[in-house]
């Protein structure tokens, strides 16, 4: 295999990706791309970001050997890359810090973002508080309802939440509204996209900022196991935590990589978010990638118990990695994820977010009594605090809201 070198200069991962936006946004994206390229070579920027990673986020996040879960599965040795220990409770902060530093350098004075589960919204509101910039978060009305703790967090951090009532009232619609805001306020506003989705240069930029996860995991596993892992597993919604873990391993042919999508009530049902299992290539939010769509190209509503995976598209790099068969993608249902959510809590004393619970569920299902003597790294990209009410309701526990 040739050395992995994606995307192209115009943001193509194979045929996927690109910049499909109106002329109101095109000049901005080109300018953003230019500024990002420049900053990548800037040593001062790197140092600033690394300092923040270390002292503000608490990086490197630990690589925890999940002994009890490994024993329970009776299969491989399982390691958790614990990005849920980051400040704000998920991997999202890595990318937000990178982007806000870029926004500062570009002289932007107003920050907008979209959020699904609220993790990216919280991370954005956090960096805005830190850097003293006004912050506007677009969030689907449905997500506001199911992610109340995060809504309160964002408000505490000084952000303005703008409820989105259009469409399915979740992440996809929040992104539409944020893009509209950006079109209207192009001159002073920086749009911090939280996932590896959207038009170029976002998928590349977000991946690069998140790849600190994989870089650390690589060093850490080499230290404890004296070898590279046999498997990587991460959940995929838009795909930022997964790209962050996968990217530094893509050239290591022997490392098998698995992405786990949210299949909702089943990948073959209409209530799913398993874009790569059930979707076809199309254009959504400025990027050519797999999407859930009907025969006329109308985008379907996604469904998942996890607000962070409830998105009918996926980052273009995942589509590419699927098509070249470098990464295999599987779907996990709401029910399976909820079971894994409980299993992990009981066995490891770690309450995972519902997003990585999908990755956990796949691991438990597919590796049980198999792959002994192998080593697996699973990206535990978020903690479960935000999901307590949702999970309690789904499990049937009477939690007094």
């Amino acid at each position: 295999m040739r050395k992995y070198k994606q995307p192209s200069t115009v943001g193509r991962f194979g045929e996927f990706g690109g910049m499909y936006v109106s002329e109101t946004l095109m000049p901005l994206l080109l300018n953003l791309d230019k500024s990002y390229k420049k900053i990548q070579k800037d040593k001062k920027f790197k140092k600033e970001l690394n300092d923040l990673f270390k002292n503000y986020v608490g990086r490197p996040s630990s690589l925890h050997f999940a002994k009890n879960l490994s024993k329970y599965i009776n299969g491989p040795k399982i390691y958790f890359k614990r990005d849920e220990l980051n400040h704000t409770g998920a991997h999202k902060i890595n990318n937000c810090l990178g982007q806000i530093l870029l926004a500062k350098k570009m002289g932007k004075t107003r920050i907008i973002a979209e959020t699904g589960a609220g993790q990216h919204g919280v991370a954005t509101a956090t960096v805005c508080a830190l850097f003293g910039l006004p912050c506007y978060i677009y969030m689907g009305a449905k997500d506001i309802e199911r992610q109340k703790p995060n809504v309160f967090r964002m408000k505490l951090l000084g952000a303005t939440i703008i409820p989105v009532e259009s469409g399915s009232k979740s992440l996809k619609d929040a992104m539409n509204e944020a893009l509209r805001d950006w079109i209207k306020n192009v001159r002073d506003t920086f749009y911090i996209i939280g996932s590896t989705a959207g038009p170029h240069p976002y998928p590349k930029m977000v991946r690069d900022f998140q790849s600190v996860i994989g870089q650390e995991a690589r060093e850490q596993i080499l230290k404890v196991e004296k070898k590279l892992p046999d498997y990587l597993i991460a959940c995929v919604g838009g795909g930022s935590n997964a790209m962050g873990l996968f990217y530094p391993f893509l050239n290591d042919k022997k490392v098998k990589i698995i992405g786990v999508e949210a299949a909702g009530r089943g990948a073959k049902t209409e209530e799913t978010a398993a874009t790569m299992t059930s979707g076809t290539p199309g254009i959504l939010h400025g990027s050519y990638s797999y999407v859930l769509q009907d025969n006329d190209g109308q985008i379907k509503e996604a469904h998942s118990i996890s607000a962070g995976l409830d998105y009918p598209g996926v980052g273009p790099e995942h589509s590419y990695l699927k098509d070249i068969k470098r990464v295999k993608y599987f779907g996990i249902t709401d029910k399976e994820a909820l079971e894994a959510f409980q299993t992990c809590s009981k066995l490891e004393g770690i309450i995972p977010a519902l997003e990585p619970s999908h990755a956990l569920a796949y691991l438990i299902k597919a590796f049980k009594n198999k792959h002994k003597n192998k080593v697996v790294i699973l990206n535990l990209c978020g903690r479960g605090d935000k999901d307590l009410f949702t999970a309690a309701k789904a499990i049937g526990f009477d939690a007094d809201e």
């Binding site: 002329e23 109101t24 259009s166 996809k172 939010h285 400025g286 985008i299």
Partner: protein
Amino acid sequence: MNNLDSLPKKKILSLFMTCGFPTLNQSKKVFNEMLSHQPNIIEFGLPFSDPMADGPIIQEANKLALRSKLSTQQSLNLIKELSKSKNNTSFVIMCYLNTVRKFGLNKFIKNIKSIVDGIIIVDLPFEEEDAIKKSLSKNNIHLIKLISPMTDKKRSKKLLKNSKGFIYYISATGITGSNKLDYKEINKNVKSIKKMSSVPVLVGFGIKSKKDVIDISKKTNADGVVIGSALIQKYFDIKMDFNKYLKSLKKFIQEVKI
């Protein structure tokens, strides 16, 4: 023959309307009303589930049109049927790329050939247009270009090379929290566009009244206007009473024909 090649020099009126809005049957009546005024251009919006470059009013129109699962083929059939009473009016389709892609470019062109004079694919940037532009021009359909206040001179020059039909200048951008038209800026940018291209320049986005139309004509160098959201807004203003809507549409179009 392409009607866009014989647009008048001044006071061009282009009316935008979403196909299938509010319903497919009512949509026919809406377009017939519009056609009866013989505007220079009618823009047919093909409804899309995620019209990210459109404002909330057109988004709502898209949603209503898609309620009854309106297909691309039905929209194209509607346009074909209306073209019988087209006369000198230019027909332009405005849509998103995913709609064309999923329908199939060749099949799409086959359906609109000799019926439609131009097409605006909102999210198809200049950088990606080559193959599509070629197929369209072979069939005498013009790919209409959008220019925004953010498009700088260097980029405009590239975009406007060999432009056909008209140039769509998007006016209301970059004005935080305000939908007021900045005539000074519009005039400056339109002038600069006209230096680079000989086809008419129409100003769109945010034109709501007869006064706006007259002001654009008097205070700027633009050759005409595009009115879209304001036509749709009327429907919500009269609480979705369709018969009243047709009447108010008639009155409004008479007003803006200056």
